[in-house]
């Protein structure tokens, strides 16, 4: 009788708390990370029994890989080239998916300047290039065309775009989903010189973890990636709603601008060629070649160790 009563009352269910995950973002909170925010706010992480915290990048010069290596974060975002360099430095990072399959980097000129091809650039001025980032892409693009990268003079104007709009700076290394939007919003017609049009193919924001996490807890990596890709799928389908999700993490952001950033990010994330996040060996090999040619890799290594398709194949199934 007592047993029956106990059974009727029910024993309290012991539920495991969700796994706590920390993600080191590659920038301050922005709609650039809209898919992650969507996975968080739409409950995709919760469905995978995850509770996720995002760490914004503290500053431009800060390293987004170190917090993942020292355990402050479980996953991180960095450019594909940054991860190749990291790997060459014997840092045990492994890319698990690329979020921006097309790098947003673009060299912007004012349309009225008539500068529309790399061949037009020598003798002009460019905003200071970031080593390992815009500098690598610019050098690779110019070198490939037989042009001297040094023929373009770098000027430090910080993040102020007014010298560019005033014509005091000829070339602005910027992002398709940010600087181009600002320029057009302010009524400027611009020319876009895309490194990928000149044989420089780079992955943009790429999601990575440590070798140790991948080996010791592949289930956690799989669940996190699956929820993240769901978030990105939703964000791509609903950019106007996904952009403003960033305001939860930084209430000072402008909702309309975040929606525009997300809208402009869609063709960088989903290109129609492969599934969201999918990586191709030839792009990793191309990035490696560019960096090796520029002497940015300490020593040659097998670039295929810098990424794994294990989780993407598990999620999407097989080759594409």
């Amino acid at each position: 009788m007592v047993a029956m009563l106990l059974a009727a009352c029910g024993t309290p269910q012991i539920t495991e708390p969700p796994d706590q995950i920390t993600v080191q973002l590659a920038w301050a909170h922005e709609a650039l990370f809209g898919g992650f925010y969507a996975a968080d706010q739409r409950g995709y992480y919760a469905e995978e029994d995850l509770e996720v915290t995002f760490l914004p990048r503290p500053g431009l010069g800060s390293d987004t890989i170190a917090p993942v290596l020292d355990g402050t974060a479980d996953f991180g975002l960095d450019y594909g080239a940054g991860l190749v360099i990291s790997r060459a430095q014997d840092r045990p990072t492994v890319a698990i998916a690329t979020i921006c399959r097309r790098h947003p980097l673009v060299f912007i000129t004012l349309a009225e300047s008539g500068l529309s091809r790399p061949q037009d650039l020598p003798g002009h001025t460019i905003r200071t290039l970031v080593p390992g980032g815009s500098a690598s892409a610019f050098e690779a693009m110019m070198t490939r065309l037989g042009l001297d990268p040094e023929s373009v003079r770098q000027i430090d104007v910080g993040f102020d775009l007014s010298p560019f709009f005033a014509g005091e700076l000829d070339i602005l290394p910027g992002f398709l989903n940010y600087d181009v939007l600002i320029a057009r919003e302010q009524g400027y017609e611009v020319n876009l010189i895309l490194p990928e049009d000149y044989g420089v193919h780079l992955y943009g924001y790429t999601l990575f973890a440590t070798e140790q996490l991948i080996e010791e807890n592949p289930d956690l990596v799989l669940r996190f990636l699956r929820a993240t890709l769901r978030g990105w799928q939703w964000a791509i389908e609903n950019p106007q709603e996904a952009g403003p999700l960033a305001l939860k993490y930084d209430s000072t952001l402008d909702a309309a601008q975040q929606a525009a950033i997300m809208e402009a990010s869609v063709p960088l994330v989903y290109t129609g060629e492969d599934d969201i996040g999918w990586m191709r060996a030839e792009v990793w090999e191309g990035m490696y070649d560019v960096l090796l040619e520029q002497g940015l890799l300490d020593e040659p290594f097998d670039v295929h160790e810098a990424y794994t398709m294990e989780f993407l194949q598990e999620i999407y199934g097989g080759e594409q």
Binding site: R102, E196, G199, E273, D275
Partner: protein
């Protein structure tokens, strides 16, 4: 006397009820069976119709693609084109011969083909040795590299039809078709590439809907994204994914038909076909409301007539 009158009243009420039941039940049963049979017939006929139009659209798409291939193959096989491309491949851009060959290709071949055929938004010749666009009907693309693009890599070996994808350089959804250009020794010296407008596929999908107010047809890729614009949506191509039962079943690489909710959440009759050559699904659907409208109208009319009969009988009683 009163007893006789009461007995008569009870009998007449019973008879009335009996007559009412006899008047209502058989027609109701027959009506239901007729309705069910009619609905099934309409369902079968509609699905067969959708399957037929789906096949027609598939054939039209293939003709459109084959037409694009033929235009390119015909251009690439012209001896004069091959001779001019050979000049571009072996001369420096600054040489007068290079400029003359460039202009001749554009004016005598690519330009007229672009105007006459109307299949392509842009035609270009890509140098085989390095993947650089040496001639393009869109001058702003000349000098750009396409060395890793599948339409260049594959196009060196055979006529190739690419996936509908987003091009940052060209600023929108594109579909590339390409074919090799050989010199007189049979060596590949260039790739002729055409940028077809995916809107052409949308037009094909939208055609053949006839007078239907809701017949819809569209293509979906293996990532579950729309490739063409559906009838009830704009800006869906490569931006909206679809998760309907029809799309899911088709992406399992199957053909079939059935009743399910479409991308708007509206109940439809639909057929789906997997196109293995293109790795695409074609879905053709019609709103159930439109398909079943005649039988629903008949059902409603019958029901209304039945109600009138009952009301008349009741008032007479």
């Amino acid at each position: 006397m009163r007893l006789v009158r009461n007995a008569f009243t009870r009998l007449s009420t019973k008879l009335l009820l009996l007559f009412l039941l006899l008047a209502i039940i058989p027609p109701t049963v027959v009506g239901y069976l007729a309705y069910d049979n009619g609905r099934r017939t309409i369902e079968r006929m509609t699905l067969n119709h959708l399957d037929s139009t789906s096949r027609l659209r598939e054939a039209a798409s293939e003709r459109w693609i084959a037409g694009n291939e033929t235009v390119l193959e015909s251009l690439a096989s012209r001896r004069h084109v091959a001779e001019l491309v050979a000049v571009l491949a072996s001369n420096d851009q600054a040489d007068p011969e290079y400029r003359a060959a460039h202009d001749a290709i554009l004016q005598d071949h690519l330009g007229p083909a672009l105007e006459e055929e109307g299949h392509f938004l842009e035609l270009a010749i890509i140098r085989a040795q390095d993947g650089v666009i040496v001639v393009s009907s869109d001058e702003s693309l000349e000098g750009k590299y396409r060395e890793s693009e599948p339409f260049f890599v594959e196009g060196k070996a055979r006529t190739y039809v690419g996936k509908v994808s987003y091009s940052l350089s060209e600023g929108g959804a594109v579909m590339h078709v390409s074919t090799p250009i050989h010199d007189e020794r049979g060596e590949v010296i260039g790739v002729l590439a055409g940028r077809a407008d995916p809107a052409g596929l949308t037009e094909i999908m939208r055609a053949a809907a006839g007078v239907s107010a809701s017949e819809d047809a569209y293509l979906v890729n293996t990532s579950r994204f729309f490739v063409t614009e559906p009838r009830f949506g704009e800006g869906f191509a490569l931006k909206k994914a679809i998760h309907t039962k029809g799309a899911e079943a088709c992406l399992e690489q199957g053909d079939g038909m059935g009743l399910y909710d479409d991308y708007r959440g509206v109940p439809v009759l639909g057929t789906y076909r997997w196109l293995p050559e293109r790795e695409l699904c074609i879905l053709t659907e019609l709103d159930q409301a439109e398909a079943f409208a005649p039988i629903v109208a008949l059902r409603n009319a019958t029901f209304a007539a039945g109600v009138v009969v009952v009301l008349c009988a009741a008032s007479w009683a």
